[in-house]
């Protein structure tokens, strides 16, 4: 039972990560940066609870907002370019974040000793959950409550004019511009909201893992983030959730046979899915026009 609860936690966090990428992908932008926002949320929330003694909720909120703010700041220059150049820009940004935390050192003296990010050694001692006697079930409830809330918010956004504007921008930027849509506002808002969600996921992850380091936030995480919405099919939120369950499920099963070759399996899985069903698992109409030139 504990095993499944643990798996549920991972699925929950990854779902949030996937949803953050969903927002951005909806406007037709491919962002490899979600891992970077995840990292920011993780470090900020972790530092606030373990170094400054904050309660969990405000720490998570501030972590998410910090990530969102950085997303907006980075979005303005980065979103001036499209398509593949944006891929490069967001990849570079994610690397900058990772390298920043690779070098970042700030420790304070607390009752439990020196706590804080310690450059390449990582950031340990994020012991909010254990010190407040949270059980695995409790953590799960928190994670899934957040997932549920995020799904509700995104579903509402999608139904509202915002979602229509996002998708219009994703369909055809030239037509959208001519229809009076402010491209920058649409893209940056999607990017910012995506950044917030990723930051939230990161904050939860930091507490779940109790020890984080720069290696956690590399290309593999960024790949997971965009893989879920793409594999799940971009037209539906549920698809992302399904994709997380599918990927994590397959990986887990595969682990039993192949042992430690997790990333290899993941990589091969992605390649296979793209060959078989490139528009995603839940895509009703084949061939979503994201980034397609008219």
């Amino acid at each position: 039972m504990d095993f499944y609860l643990g798996l549920a936690q991972v699925i929950g966090i990854h779902t949030l990560l996937g949803l953050s990428a969903w927002c951005v992908l909806h406007t037709g932008q491919v962002s490899i940066a979600q891992g970077g926002f995840f990292a920011i949320g993780a470090y900020v929330a972790g530092m606030l609870t373990s170094m400054a003694g904050w309660p969990l909720a405000p720490a998570l909120a501030v972590g998410a907002l910090a990530a969102g703010a950085v997303a907006v700041a980075v979005g303005f220059p980065a979103l001036r370019v499209k398509g593949l150049m944006l891929v490069v820009a967001t990849t570079a940004f994610a690397e900058i974040v990772r390298l920043f935390f690779f070098n970042f050192k700030w420790r304070v003296q607390t009752a439990e000793g020196l706590i804080g990010p310690d450059a390449s050694l990582g950031f340990g001692g994020i012991r909010y959950f254990p010190s407040h006697a949270w059980s695995t079930l409790d953590v799960n409830l928190l994670i899934w409550a957040l997932v549920g809330a995020t799904l509700v918010v995104l579903a509402w956004l999608d139904r509202s004019r915002v979602g229509t504007l996002w998708r219009a921008v994703g369909e055809d930027e030239l037509a959208a511009q001519s229809a009076g849509i402010n491209l920058t506002a649409a893209k940056v808002s999607a990017f910012g909201i995506g950044g917030c969600i990723a930051g939230l996921a990161g904050g939860v992850f930091a507490h779940y893992a109790t020890h984080i380091e720069h290696n956690n936030f590399g290309i593999l995480l960024a790949t997971f983030a965009i893989a879920y919405p793409i594999i799940g099919g971009l037209s539906s939120l549920a698809g992302t959730l399904l994709a997380v369950i599918f990927v994590q499920g397959v990986l887990l099963e595969g682990l039993r046979f192949i042992g430690e070759w997790r990333s290899l399996l993941f990589g091969a899985l992605i390649v296979a899915v793209m060959l078989v069903r490139p528009s995603g698992l839940l895509q009703r109409s084949l061939g979503l026009g994201l980034g397609r030139r008219a």
Partner: protein, 261 residues
Amino acid sequence: MLELRHLSRHFGGVKAVDELELEVRQGEILGLIGPNGSGKSTTVNLITGVYKPTAGSLHFKGQEISGLAAHQRTELGIARTFQNIRLFGHLTVWQNLWAARVVRQGGWAGFRERWLSGARAAREQAEELLVFGDLAHKRDLLAGNLAFGEQRRLELIRAAASGAELLLLDEPAAGMNAEEIHDLDQRIRLLRQQGRTILLIEHHMELVMEVCDRIAVLNFGRKIAEGTPAQVQQNAQVRAAYLGTDEIDQSKPSPEAPHHA
């Protein structure tokens, strides 16, 4: 309403638009014609903000707009349709209109309308346009699944949905049969009757001569003629531009010469 003064757009050595002087008067239907490559599409792109002018200026309702971004010009009141249909294919007919609705109110009401669900006034306006375009019964279909003629109608009403006063129609008749063109003729007149000004770029001469109040003719990026349809039809330069010069080239065989197998 719209004035182009000394407007030029160069692409390297090519002068796509060269010292163009044009005026679109309020409430009129002005036709813009010219052979292929004469600069019509470039002119439209200059007006809507896709290109920035190399020289010259654009004035809309008295305001210089060359520095404005495309969506800002739409907010001011200029909207366009595209030669190659550019609908939001995976959005429904209704959503295409909704996305294009430009909100001009400020404050909280404006914010609510712009970013959250549309208010009743917005929906009513869009419903009217759906009826106008004969697409009310198709409002929930994906735009990409419509028939060609329906897509053209949607492009038209989407441009109108932004509340624009000046509509630029870029070859709306391309690919249409006679019945559809007649329909288009009626719709353009109705749009003008509803208070809009129309700049029509077209190749289909019958439509242009029928529906336009005035016509301007471009060739090699310059305006070579302007006037009523009757005047333009008589203009020798216009004929030369479309049909070639009158003199027969002595070195070439005459059209009556027998063909050799």
